[in-house]
């Protein structure tokens, strides 16, 4: 495979490995005995090392190699998993991530200084277990029940267990081969019970130059010594008689069993989950989606053209075409659907770091990570969600002491929940923190001149929440590293609305806050209501349409200069679309009855006047492009059956 191809592969796969590293390091932090996690980390680091090595990426190779050493020590219980060690591993992962970014962007590693990290990495291993004493050996090489019983049986038969330390010469090139010869030679005396590192790792040369074997041998120590020393390229061989109390401590046994059980479960699980899948370049999927979009436009055109046709065959086939096109659209959309996990899986790390920085204790609960959403949303939703999480941790969750004083658990909980709701996907960020203090928000808004002081008292809760989403609003008293930089909730709101979504807030003082983000399932093809206003056709996303009603003109009332209409027992505002669009309406005011589209924006309803109703249609959303990107009330455009362009109204901006 040529280098370019390999580089592409590296770019594609390395991200996954980084994710695996992150996930499993965090898992290991929770359960320091989780050997499966250690193995996963090892595998990821090892694969990265392999790929980086092939591409001549020395820094990455160096770091991953040293990570492997640490992990190996953990595996062989030569090293304990401490929080310091977790920090080092996470730092490695971050550094690797940065290096990989460089590689992807510039085709090579930047000249970053990683010596600090490498020293840190090497430090824990520069003090390997003092191999001189027998106790240390044993500590490093705990035996399981089975091995102990083998030794016990062996001793009863007159065999002797020896710990043998073999150091190869530093110049030795084929270490695995030498080790193999040592194993061969040793086995001529008896049975090798255990080796440190593990035999497999030795075979793969995953050791420096020293390894240990526990040999249950018949025969004399000196004889073994001389036989082993006769192998070339060996620095020294040290043999000690090993003494084992045959009863292994119970807890070790239990822990070991547990781990094995877990591994068993894991491997069982993964066997079941084996899905047959292929990797597809996202651009190809986008192309496919575009083609489907084209097809739907043509289908709409055909429907238009054939609407006057009375030929039964034509009508029948038109319906067939329409059905197939819709099914194809659904199918392609499904292909583009990915679990929201793709975004969520980097959050445990983010939350952990934030908690550490703010000295708070936080538990993150993720629910519904398998909820599927369109790829386009995956790409866009990450930053707003991170901001909401930061907000929850920085402003919401209190410090542990504070929480204890309030009678709460010292550990705060942040829930990240995703689920489908009709044609929407809903993502909630909840915290059980201090809740939003309305007064603080009002005070801050007055101070920043976002509202006039005398108006401040008339605000209801909804208005106050809206203030929070104003540009330039930030309640943090001091600007912290995490949130409170003033680029805040307004950006979140803008971004979510740009995706055709909505954000709502529920809060209770002292109890917590809940941000609810509602997004459409897909961003490219939607059901829309087509309406005509002063001879132009506009599309209104069906998801924001509550109902279409005709009301007699006499029902329109004017309150304080604003038009309102009664609707299902309450009053709702009347919005004149022609006025919002700045076009002169065909004078409809003389009509006795007006047609209204009742629009819902979250909980709020409004009546939108339209000229004529044209009908419902599946439309393909197209961008207006960079030149017209700042027209607020239009969110995009679509191509109608006759080839004309219809603008899509951004309902959130109109009502």
């Amino acid at each position: 495979m040529d280098n370019n191809r390999y580089m592409e592969l590296f770019a594609e796969e390395s991200k996954e490995h980084i994710q695996v590293l992150n996930d499993n390091i965090l898992e290991l932090e929770v359960d320091t005995n989780n050997m499966e996690a250690v193995n996963e980390i090892f595998r990821a680091a090892h694969t990265l090392k392999g790929m980086a090595g092939t591409l001549g990426l020395n820094l990455i190779t160096d770091i991953t190699h040293n990570m492997e050493n640490i992990l190996d020590d953990i595996r062989n219980q030569k090293k304990e998993v401490t929080s310091h060690l977790i920090d080092i591993l996470l730092e490695c992962t971050d550094t690797l991530d940065v290096l990989i970014q460089d590689v992807i962007e510039f085709g090579r590693e930047g000249d970053r200084d990683v010596t600090d990290l490498l020293t840190k990495l090497k430090d824990p291993i520069s003090s390997p277990i003092d191999t001189e004493t027998k106790q240390e050996y044993e500590k490093a090489m705990k035996l399981d029940q089975y091995q102990l019983s083998v030794i016990k049986a062996g001793v009863e038969q007159g065999l002797t267990p020896y710990w043998i330390e073999i150091k190869l010469q530093p110049t030795c090139l084929l270490r695995a081969a030498r080790a193999y010869m040592v194993f061969q030679a040793a086995e001529s005396f008896g049975e090798i019970i255990k080796s440190v590192p593990h035999v497999q790792d030795i075979e793969e040369e995953k050791f420096e130059d020293t390894f240990y074997i526990l040999l249950l041998a018949k025969g004399d120590q000196a004889e073994i010594q001389s036989k082993l020393e006769s192998i070339s390229e060996i620095d020294y061989v040290r043999i000690k008689k090993a003494e084992y109390s045959v009863e292994a401590p119970k807890e070790i046994k239990d822990a070991k069993n547990k781990i094995e059980e877990k591994q068993q479960q894991k491997s069982d699980g993964s066997n079941h989950r084996q899905v047959r899948s292929i990797r597809v370049d996202i651009e190809r999927l986008d192309l496919l989606m575009n083609l489907v979009s084209e097809l739907i436009i043509i289908k709409n055109t055909m429907e238009d053209l054939s609407s006057n046709n009375t030929d039964a065959g034509m009508i029948e086939n038109m319906e067939y075409l329409s059905r197939v096109a819709n099914e194809l659209h659904d199918a392609v959309m499904k292909v583009r659907m990915v679990p929201i996990e793709m975004v969520f899986n980097r959050f445990p790390r983010v939350v952990r770091d934030l908690a550490k920085n703010t000295n708070k204790r936080i538990k993150l609960n993720i629910v519904g990570a398998d909820t599927e959403v369109d790829r386009t949303i995956i790409d866009e939703i990450g930053d707003p969600l991170i901001h909401l999480l930061r907000n929850a941790i920085d402003h919401g969750i209190e410090l542990p002491e504070e929480r204890l004083n309030m009678g709460k658990e010292p550990e705060g909980t942040v829930d990240l929940i995703a689920y489908h709701d009709g044609n929407n996907v809903v993502i909630e960020v909840r915290d059980d923190g201090r809740g939003i203090n309305y007064q603080n928000i009002v005070d801050s808004a007055v101070r920043k001149g976002l509202i006039a002081k005398d108006k401040a008292n008339q605000l209801d809760e909804k208005d106050i929440i809206d203030l929070m989403f104003q540009p330039g609003f930030s309640t943090a008293k001091s600007v912290s590293d995490i949130s409170g930089r003033g680029v805040g909730m307004d950006v979140v709101k803008t971004k979510i609305e740009a995706m055709g979504g909505l954000i709502e807030v529920e809060t209770e003082l002292g109890k917590g806050t809940r941000f609810i983000v509602r997004l459409p399932l897909t961003l490219s093809i939607i059901q829309a209501l087509l309406v005509e206003v002063s001879n132009e056709i506009f599309a209104i996303p069906l998801s924001s349409v509550q109902e279409i009603i005709d009301i007699p003109l006499s029902q329109v009332k004017i309150l304080r200069g604003e038009e309102v209409i009664p609707y299902r027992g309450s009053l709702i505002p009347l919005v004149r679309l022609e006025r919002e669009l700045g076009v002169e309406g065909d004078d409809k005011s003389r009509d006795e009855v007006i047609t209204l589209v009742v629009i819902k924006k979250g909980e709020k309803l409004s009546g939108l006047t339209i000229g004529n109703l044209i009908g419902q249609q599946e439309i393909v959303i197209k961008s207006l492009g960079k030149y017209l990107s700042d027209i607020k009330i239009i969110s995009g455009a679509t191509i109608l059956g006759d080839g004309r362009v219809a603008l899509i109204l951004d309902i959130n901006r109109i009502v």
Binding site: L624, L628, I634, A637, R644, V645
Partner: protein
């Protein structure tokens, strides 16, 4: 008019607007289209006619006559939309008539700022001398007010 193409040569699309000849660097011209139905877009400057559908893409269309405060002219068989693609923008310009693609050597191109001093002529970047006919090359960023 046969001219050998040299390294210093530049190519322009020349078009007519009212009485004057204008030019656009061929590098930014994507295609030349016949007039088609245009959907007006609210809340845009008066010279933005709206958007049109060019083979499935939505393209904003600008009326250059309005932009240059010239009188309106009915669209006819010669009216064209010149689709330009530059700096991430795709914009169509309505012109009276597209004439030709011209190749000019460097010595026949002069920077406009040395010649036209009035600020209202800022949007002209270069003046091309084509055998005594002068062609005004447009700076689209300035013409369409795209600068920040």
């Amino acid at each position: 008019m046969e001219k050998k193409s040299n390294l210093g040569d530049k190519q322009f699309i020349s078009f007519i607007l009212g009485e004057e000849n204008f030019g656009l660097d061929v590098m930014i011209v994507e295609s030349v289209e016949r007039m088609s139905s245009i959907t007006p877009v609210p809340k845009t400057p008066n010279y933005v006619l709206g958007v049109t559908n060019i083979r499935g893409d939505i393209i904003p269309v600008v009326n250059l006559r309005k932009r240059f405060d010239m009188d309106d002219k009915e669209y006819d068989d010669d009216t064209r939309i010149v689709i330009c693609n530059f700096d991430g923008y795709r914009i169509g310009l309505v012109v009276d008539l597209v004439k030709d693609v011209i190749t000019v050597s460097e010595e026949n191109i002069q920077a406009s700022e040395d010649i036209l001093k009035d600020r209202k002529n800022d949007f002209i970047s270069e003046i091309i001398d084509l055998d005594g006919n002068y062609i005004l090359a447009l700076d689209l960023i300035k013409t369409l007010d795209l600068g920040e």
